[in-house]
Symmetry: D2
């Protein structure tokens, strides 16, 4: 396998569908997986932060991964972040045995120095097995850990099983440019970069050198199209499509209620049966639902206009 080739395009971050009583909704899992594939996803990440991973038991986690892998024909990445290496190792072993392609690791929010971040990824890689491909999750807004480009280069260089960077630093455009400049001047082997942060800067991030997106915005079909248009040099068309979605992207990117927005839209689109979140997550208020409805109606009107013209 050439890892760099596999990590491009759209790796969708999958939410975990629950029944209103909190149990995992397996038929929604299946329908959602089919939807992602039909939308053109190049990979699927399960058990990320917005997959409500910390709210599930080990058994539930493994069951979910098994179900998605059974159905998907694309690489599956599994979030295995945990407060300690024992749980991280246990989950990694189980999901790799099931056929996962790699795992995603977020840094603990207590790391404060460059060295401590690099060391965490080294020790984590050692703990899960030096042959298990892992994804660096660089999301300071949520994890409070700041990785400079030089730190990312050190992790990617010193830890051989580093697969790709889930880049969701904010601001993050210059970071992509720096990493790509190091590609080009030979001071760093090319590291695939998939962007996150709900795609809030996807338009420019792809232009700066990102290989695609690794996020769960409720219209992954749009993400696929924007990346395709952008890579094909159709800049204005890519931005036109992206801009049409930006009001909703922004709305869904809110920390906290964002996941409820995502699930609500996916429910309205018929992808999952319920927008239930496990605690401490909470449902959208009626006012918020009405706002999302309004944004969806505006999107639909634009699509209708686009078809006419």
């Amino acid at each position: 396998m050439n890892r760099a080739d596999q990590a491009r395009g759209i790796f969708v971050i999958a939410p975990t569908p629950f029944h209103p009583d909190g149990r995992i909704d397996e038929s929604s899992v299946d329908r959602m997986t089919d939807f992602f594939l039909a939308a053109g996803a190049d990979g699927i990440t399960v058990l990320g932060q917005l997959g409500e991973a910390p709210k599930m038991t080990h058994e539930e986690s493994v069951g979910l991964v098994k179900r998605v892998i059974a159905r998907a024909k694309v690489p599956i990445v599994v979030g295995v972040s945990a407060p300690g290496f024992a749980a991280m190792h246990a989950l990694t072993q189980d999901v790799m045995a099931l056929g996962a392609s790699g795992v995603m690791i977020a840094p603990p929010n207590t790391l404060r120095t460059d060295d401590s971040i690099v060391q965490h990824y080294k020790q984590a890689s050692e703990a899960i097995g030096a042959d298990v491909p892992f994804v660096i999750q660089d999301y300071p807004l949520t994890f409070s850990v700041q990785m400079t480009p030089a730190v990312i280069r050190r992790i990617a260089t010193e830890t051989k099983s580093c697969w790709f960077l889930k880049h969701e630093d904010w601001p993050g455009l210059e970071k992509i440019s720096q990493l790509r400049a190091w590609d080009q001047d030979g001071s760093m082997a090319r590291l695939p970069i998939l962007i996150g942060n709900n795609a809030l800067f996807l338009d420019f991030e792809v232009e700066r050198g990102a290989d695609g997106a690794n996020t769960g915005y409720c219209f992954p079909d749009m993400l696929v199209d924007v990346v395709r248009l952008s890579k094909a040099g159709k800049r204005d068309e890519a931005h036109d499509l992206f801009d049409a979605h930006l009001p909703l992207i922004r709305y869904e990117q809110q920390p906290g209620p964002g996941l409820a927005v995502r699930k609500y839209v996916m429910m309205r689109r018929g992808i999952i049966a319920s927008d239930t979140l496990r605690k401490p997550g909470a449902a959208l208020t009626p006012a918020a639902r009405a706002e999302v409805d309004y944004l969806m109606a505006r999107l639909a009107r634009r699509d209708a206009r686009a078809k006419v013209s």
Copy 2:
């Protein structure tokens, strides 16, 4: 003075224009002030975070305020946040004597409990003078201080000189709804709410009950129009206008480079002569400038289309 009446519409957050060598550019200050008034600003806030207040000496700060007040016919708010009450008091005295209408106070980023936040505003009000109107700046993204609606109610109720809330919590829609619900059920006197956070949610925040905006987005003219349209019930038109600006709003809202974006656009619009920032601020990279140029070109094209149709 009926304070509630004064705090509505758009209170622009003014940047501080510098010459390329770092000195304050007074003719740009004048031109900028005139521009804000022509754009329909209802007030101007100087020496906010994005006014680079901490980078200026006391004398420079007072000089800037004096110059803006001399020219403006609208209420002037002055940011007086400081690590201690002595400097806060000194600046407040000087600017109130010059004719400022009130001051803005941000919480120190070490406050962690509800009581400590309320107490800070009480002590600050006592320190600057119990008759000086002050603005609560609720901006957790920058200050790391979380104020619940109940805390804001306590501040507004227990400290009589509280003027209005600069609301820039994120997510923040439900907070506005909660404060407005308390207005209506009589459990709180009406507190004017002007939103900030670069207007990223202005569209819905006005619908939730905000009285306007207190932010420095580089097209304050647009902010004026959106609030006007929204208050006039022209919802779709308000959103159409807002959405057209959202790609740039989002770009300017980036923490760190955001102020350089703002100054660059204001320079390109002819409002200020240079986009210089004082250290540790840094200029935009060429790549970032090109991206802003692209976003401005797209906005201009839309305006041209709008005029034709």
Copy 3:
């Protein structure tokens, strides 16, 4: 059971003894449990932060608890803090079935408002079962969560299964006095308070109204004696004994290497076979070991003098 009666004296925080290769050292677990009982412990807390809980799998955790419970005749508290309620519930169920007396819950380090802290404990209690006694762990130095006395009162009042407070705020003396004042004026039902923070203020905390200690200082026998002397009114003797240990208490209280100090002393005292920590924990440097040796030698000399006189 009268909970208040059970939560007094010394509840030792037990480290988890490992073999040099990282496996749990069961015979050291037994020897350590016997030692705690012989030292006069009134209870034992396993799987706390300094029990390296996050570094162990669920199975290892349950096995450890089972072994300690089988041997001990005192109440056993089990740390069940986890990033989500699912894991918290799973571990609680298993250890309560084995005979644990209750569980300890630390707040996630993202909580920032009074309400969010109270709500966390409510939801956690609901998740683990409203009949399971739980301990509030109030340790801002490690968890970055600040609980005011009023917040603690709300948790203790609104969540019936609250058992006792592990008080390790710093500074924390006035907090104890406030909670005890509320006892006495009837505005709060008496909540047992056991202090932590490596006993750094045990001397005065007992005088302020704490019921004992819930910490793992490497000489729990001293903690027993200090509390006994203090409660018996022998103030100077209590302080003399405490002060003799303070140089080592302070040394062991260092965040990070502190646990290695504790295990090293317990190894030197013959209580556990190895001072091994699981990663990312690290062994003491030779210089640090020599410093601990010196502090132990000074303690031994004092004991020798005390016996002579």
Copy 4:
């Protein structure tokens, strides 16, 4: 001037004495300065965090420095930390003109990466003047900024006017050993290290290679003696003296009330007239005063015994 020679022994951190009404108490300033000199101080630092610097106006700050310099015959260091470089520059200019020997700079609590810390000191040095000797204040407990030994080496190497390190990291023993190892293997020019953190680890820090202390513990005379004894090889005597003070050192080191403890003891010792703090600082409670009285009585009894024997 050979800077390294000047930075050794005890540089006392001076509190700012206030009258009960909040004005600076100039005769107490004089008496305190005389006391420090008589106690054997090698230098004095004014306007540190515990000098209540942020609570004073620029004019008050300059006045205080002037008064201390006029009286003292030892090097005076002035804390000039400020939210921006303009205020930092203004104060530095004024105090250097008055005869200060250098300034102390703390990092803003938002710095998160190695590079950002190094850059801050470079820009600060540039702002205040590349010839002004400055002290690095490494105090993560208060400033939330973590500097590795490598970061300190970079600052000391890349910024020529770096004078000495005020080391108050915790844990911090290995950091001293690392910096001293680099001295010895030639990979770093010797940087003087004076320890802070209320001297909580002075005993071992001097043994690890620190050159003295830069702290304000209320018995600076003891600090002088401990360093002298330790440097003279009288290890046990140094520890005996230190240990006798440790109960009070620990009590004074509490973040928050610590400064009130310090001022209260200095008032009781007749060094300053009042223990008043400016807001938001608060006086000790009666219970806390009684505890400090008790600790002082125990110290006095020990001194009496020492004199007899």
